[in-house]
Symmetry: D2
Subunit: 278 residues, 4 copies
């Protein structure tokens, strides 16, 4: 069980969404309300693009709890970004090490996952074998999440992101069937190539982890009426979050089951998400 | 806010009290029930004596949460000890670093603290100046807890442990008065010299953090009826814990306000604890 | 490039070989003399058996340099062992994380490696696929060394240790040929099941990393004439080391190329080591 | 023994000086040529100002060796700065923890130190007591370097930086005399307020650690003839380094004994440095 946040829009100081918001991601690391576990203290990660550099995201990951990492506080209060993904981890068994912290990165792509592949220990070998051999050497950690990312890359993430993700999930579900594993995929995922931001809520059993998207930029302004930076946000700004950042009614829209979001310049779209055979 | 456990008796594998018990210390690191905070993830420490070596305790401390430290799990499932103190930390502001993790150690002495010295930032300089100059160089961290330990050493911990602790607390309360700080001391402390184990519950406002002691060894046996190791415990075995390890009625005695415990070979004593002017 | 030490014999405090010896392993972490790199600061590990427990070794690993780890100093100066392996790491590219630190462990077996599998990024997938599927899920890190260990387990380490290691190396060499990689294996390895200790010096190009074994126990006594503990060593005590611990002439025997050592109770044997087709 | 680098001028990617230069600071962390120790693996730190924010520097510190920190590599290859100080540490005995890593920071000020205060364990209490009480609470670590910085702040660093540093050094030398300590101060220090950069080379015995300054910007251009970013440097750009970044003759000027440098916009000055009585 983990939690993640992503932002797309006018550049903001990253800590606006992580630290300075009521029930922001760092608070969720200690007191998640909607997750299976209340504590997400098994490492964290942050990946961000800059206005100057949309094709080579920077990343900072750590193995301590996000709430007590002095560097994270310093960095996020000094770095502005128009597009970032942040993640706090509660391990489902794999070791707490930087290579198991999200976001995972491949070229310009960043990827975060909240959830689990049930039956992963049995299926790990089959899933890993399906990864494109030229990508195999890049696997650095031992999580189900990283393997899911490399499966999506194998199935065409860079060409048709949502279709590739539908194929990756479809492949996991097919593999699970052959192992007698039920309800293998439980996920919300976020990913970006520096141009667009995608979010997906899906689980094989159709009882997925929560995911929310901000209504529109006026919602964020309403959240922080006194925050001059947010008053200047362009109208396309959006945030996707595992849990609402505050309890203001009307601000956060729950993403429906089996649904994908696409957020880009002047673009906000919702689509059904259906696993495909690769 | 922190949690700690201590054990005195026949040698046991340390993880009996830390990992294998219902609501043991490691579980408390994620889900404390009686503390101000439910999460104690800002480092941990373990200090233990061996039957061969009662005068030079060994110590293992770490800055990650206790629940995800692979080494702690390995060490405690392999090391037997007749006398140990374990601590999980929730910082009240000072950095998460090994030198701020309990137990603190001086020669044969180990010391753990749950609580806080209110007003410590204002009083820090005065408290530090009162430490015996020859001990000053040994201060390695920046916590109020370590300073409290060095004050107790300054006021005679090695000669009359409880009197020294009463003087240390008295000195903090006097210093607080001169700074206009109310209710400065909030503490449960545990300490040992390898021969005896002391525990104290005290706070200036007389609303102290919880502390419990096991009734007698039959209580521990009742806790783990199927555990052959515990069936062999000598009758003098005792555990002191911030929170009861399970919900069995009758096993854990709450230590009253302003009370000290002394546990030694063939010896279990309860005394009132009253701060003294040093 | 790494360095390792192993000991078999009468129980000694582990720091006798790690810290208290002239040019011991910890000194080698800063100033290796015979390696490709002089610094071995990318993590460390220690695995040990106890007289009470020969079938479940304990392990302590860390990601900081061995020379500045306060816990390592504390543990090794308090823990006695009749059989232990210690390793300091200089990464050849894989991340510095505990799961990449030696010794690797499987059941009662411990394994350390100094060297490299050349061409590992290209061959990684083929090597990993050859691992027995039931063992696959246990792979926790990303090093060539861990894969070599799991190949040896796959090829029968628990039944015929040296033959299994010869097969594992043979398999790597065959795989390398099919990838056009020359001189794939460079290694000294040490491994144990708690009963015996094996050491091997081998490389495909027959220019292997250094390896030494102590002459016999009188050699160790000569090393530390004033050390009463070493004076009591049983005659079967032996140490295997990547680099001699001191410059006393005659104490350390260089292990010849393509040679295996077997050290057990009342047993010291040297054998040729020849890779086999599995 | 440590090493540090500082840069003032047109914004550059920080890794230009840390990673991409022949014998840059990261290489020095493994292979220092001019220091007492060749390895500087006991933590590191980086502090930087941005063009947008000269009064609130950002900082990233870590306890692992700089050479194997994946985050440092990522951050420095993405962050541009017109003024930064980087430091790699080789501890002279105090613990390896973030609060002991340079640069130290107070408000807009950053401070790095290479060297040692001899006799610090004896003098620590007297030096700490001389720190302005209102600053006392901000001391977070246990190094001599941090105390030297707070002494300089106590003696007016924010008003007359070099005079304050002369007084701080003078105070340490006077204190040393009363303790019978000879040659107490060994230092090169660098510090900045976001507007100017100061560097000082001094030791009580007048045999100071090395310090170099780049000749002028043409020197840096000569260092990297193919680097277009450096070709665009304004003429005021300068670097101060513990060791020359390469062996090109004529590029690096050794800073003489007992000398201070001041680098600012359109400003480069050299002055004698003489300790003062505070």
């Amino acid at each position: 069980m983990c939690r993640w946040n992503a932002y797309f829009g006018h550049p903001v100081l990253i800590d606006e969404l992580l630290f300075r918001t009521e029930h922001g991601l760092i608070d969720q690391s200690l007191h998640a309300r909607m997750g299976v576990e209340t504590t997400n203290g098994d490492g964290f990660g942050l990946g961000w693009y800059t206005d100057n550099n949309r094709s080579d995201p920077c990343r900072y990951r750590g193995v301590t709890p996000a709430w007590n990492d002095a560097n994270l506080r310093d960095l996020t209060s000094h770095i502005e970004s128009p597009l970032f993904l942040a993640h706090i981890r509660a391990t489902t068994g794999t070791p707490v090490q930087q290579t198991n912290c999200h976001p995972f990165r491949h070229g310009r792509w960043l990827f975060v996952h909240n959830g689990v592949i049930n039956g992963y220990p049995q299926m790990r070998r089959d899933l890993v074998l399906a990864i494109e051999p030229s990508l195999f050497g890049a696997i650095a950690g031992s999580t189900d999440s990283e393997v899911l990312f490399y499966l999506a890359l194998t199935f065409g993430l860079e060409d048709d992101p949502l279709l590739a993700m539908e194929r990756a999930v479809g492949f996991v579900e097919t593999t699970a069937k052959s192992h007698g594993v039920e309800n293998p995929v439980q996920m919300t995922v976020g990913f970006s190539n520096g141009e667009r931001l995608w979010g997906v809520r899906y689980s094989s059993e159709h009882r997925s982890r929560t995911l929310f998207v901000s209504e529109d930029v006026s919602a964020l302004r309403q959240l922080h009426p006194g925050n001059p930076r947010l008053q200047q946000l362009t109208d396309e700004a959006r945030a996707i979050v595992s849990e609402p950042l505050s309890d203001l009614p009307g601000v956060w829209l729950e993403v429906p089951e089996s649904t994908a979001l696409i957020i880009g310049p002047g673009d906000f779209e919702r689509r059904p998400f259906h696993p495909q055979q690769p």
